[in-house]
Amino acid sequence: MPDSRILNVSRDLVLSRRASQIQRLTSLLGRSFLFMVTSVSVLAVLFIIIFITRDAFPFFQIRGFREFFTSTHWFPSGNPPEFGALSIITGSALVAMGAAIVAVPLGVLAAVCLSDVLPFSLRQVAKPIIEILAAIPSVAYGFFALVIFAPALQEHGGIILTVCLWMLALPAALLAATVISDLVVAGIPTSRRPAMRGICWLTLVGGALFALVQGSGHLLDLTISSGTNALNVSIILGIMALPTVVSVSEDALQAVGRDLREGSYALGATRAETLVKTIIPAAASGIAAASILGIMRAVGETMVVWMASGNAAQIPTPWYNLLQPVRTLTATIAGDMGEADHVLGSARYHVLFAMALSLLLFSFGSNFVSEHIGRKFRSRQAGG
């Protein structure tokens, strides 16, 4: 046994009954304290549901469900007031759709690029850019949309749209022409191939250019009566949703693992073929979850739509016309609460909670779906 002990601690292994009781009690108390603190988030979710429902319920009691979901007449301060929220719900859906059109393709491409194409050093640069995009406060995006983007869109909308069209469509057209002419000449004897390919390619590109010029002529003539419209909001919301889509889909792509990639490369596939035919399908559910999260972010966003959507409670004609102002659920809640606050208890107050409830149900629903998809994806990855 070591001599000259410095530590002067009891060497008894057995606790007295009292000490062990005290020990057990404190550990139980500690555990339950931790558990209680952790349950705050459960309580928060419960209370959010309870309180929003409690205040939404009187609205449906007074006005019923039909008007809210089917009428487009939104005159809450009219006499008699009307509470048809259909156009507002459509507005939310419309800008979310627009945002998805911007964010999902861009985001997935960027994620693919980040996970498989870029060298490590560039990735280290790109990551913070995405983080900063995610960090910029929504009110700053809203301010940009209102003060800088809206006037630009109003005055030079045609030019902006034309530039976008050319930027996206020209490379796509060139690529498509290459592929199509390739497929066309596939059955022809080898000697005549190059000439045929050239002719085919030139015709296709010529046609595409003609269509593009026609299209941009139309776009340039476009007058945009107000820069605060659904298009403006969609683009900005799309940019805001990008970081979510990128980071979640990148995780999904990374989770697919090396084996699959190496297997595909070993068969002689190019990187694009590997990604498009093997990796992206394997990560599809993760990417779907990412898109849902991105759309959720766009639907739940308040400041940008409040400031830059024009806040007109109408369904655009035709419904996909993004150049018209719209109004969304979030903006209506934010904007009308100030006026409805002192008429507490009126339908005008409760209708806003009804809207919040719709938002909440939507977000629960999409959260559930994305979690479900994500879980399936993960378990499949784990299972090999």
């Binding site: 410095i6 530590l7 606790l15 020990q23």
Partner: protein, 286 residues
């Protein structure tokens, strides 16, 4: 033996202990090894992970102040058994035990046992060196501080003594304030030994302490184990037959959770009773 590098703070007791390969001057033998109360003794002791039995009804007495090696093929339950001695298996929720594992005559797994005092008296060194990301000094002083020693003089004394005991003092005495992660792997492992020694345990458990180290560091750790023999009861798990033969007085051979053979290392390695033991130590399987 490199005792010349040691700055031993207290007198050695068993200086007559020869170095490798076959130590053990006296022959208490596992069966008749009941001097007063043996520190660690297993009686029909089993460990289960859920339904799966990892250790089956082991009965053995681990001799006091000797080095006991546990050998056996991978997955035979060596680590599981070792970790039971200071109840590290408590961390694994599905793990439970039957039978008795006694320490100082007390059943380690009985509910009245104070795990903290138990672990204080049964130190452990892990397979991979795992110093805390703190300074060398704080690493060694971690244990004593836990037991209420705040006085910096006392702490310094303990740290110096433990580091000397672990044959590390000369190498780190000028860098006590530096982060321990900056030491080499072998130094880190000796630091972990010093850290375990600082709480003055009676038993030292080592789970493959040299498997992550190069031959030179391994040799130093083996020397160190030989140094500590006689002061501590040491239980070491190893995959290296030569190592077991070099450093241990007694050897236990486990196979699929069953204790196949236990006896003096010299005997076990030269003249095993059991066919399986022979096959294993001659490298015919495992």
């Amino acid at each position: 033996m490199t005792s010349s590098t040691l700055n031993v703070a207290r007198p050695r007791i068993t200086l007559e202990a020869p170095a490798a390969p076959l130590p053990s001057p006296v022959d208490p033998g596992p069966a008749d090894a009941a001097p007063e109360t043996p520190h660690v003794q297993a009686e029909q002791f089993s460990i289960l992970y859920g339904e799966a039995m990892a250790v089956r009804e082991i009965s053995m007495v681990i001799p006091d102040r000797q080095v006991t090696a546990i050998i056996g093929p991978s997955g035979c339950g060596k680590s599981t058994f070792l970790r039971a001695i200071n109840r590290m298996n408590d961390l694994i929720p599905c793990c439970h035990t039957t039978g008795r594992l006694l320490f100082d005559g007390q059943d380690i797994h009985s509910p009245q046992i104070d795990v903290i005092s138990l672990r204080k008296r049964v130190g452990m060194v892990f397979q991979k060196p795992n110093p805390f990301p703190k300074s060398v000094f704080d690493n060694v002083a971690y244990g004593p501080r836990l037991f209420g020693i705040r006085n910096i003089r006392t702490l310094t004394e303990i740290v110096e003594r433990s580091l000397s005991r672990a044959a590390l003092w000369d190498e780190v005495k000028d860098r006590l304030a530096q982060n321990a992660l900056g030491l080499s792997g072998g130094q880190q492992q000796r630091l972990c030994i010093a850290r375990a020694l600082a709480v003055e345990p009676d038993v030292l458990l080592m789970d493959e302490p040299t498997s992550a180290l190069d031959p030179k560091s391994t040799a130093r750790i083996e020397d160190l184990i030989a140094e500590l023999r006689g002061d501590y009861t040491i239980v070491i798990v190893t995959h290296n037959m030569q190592q077991a033969a070099r450093v241990s007085d007694f050897t236990a051979f486990l196979y699929e959770g069953v204790l196949i053979e236990f006896g003096q290392t010299r005997k076990l390695f030269t003249n095993p009773h059991n066919k399986q033991t022979e096959d294993y130590i001659t490298g015919r399987f495992g």
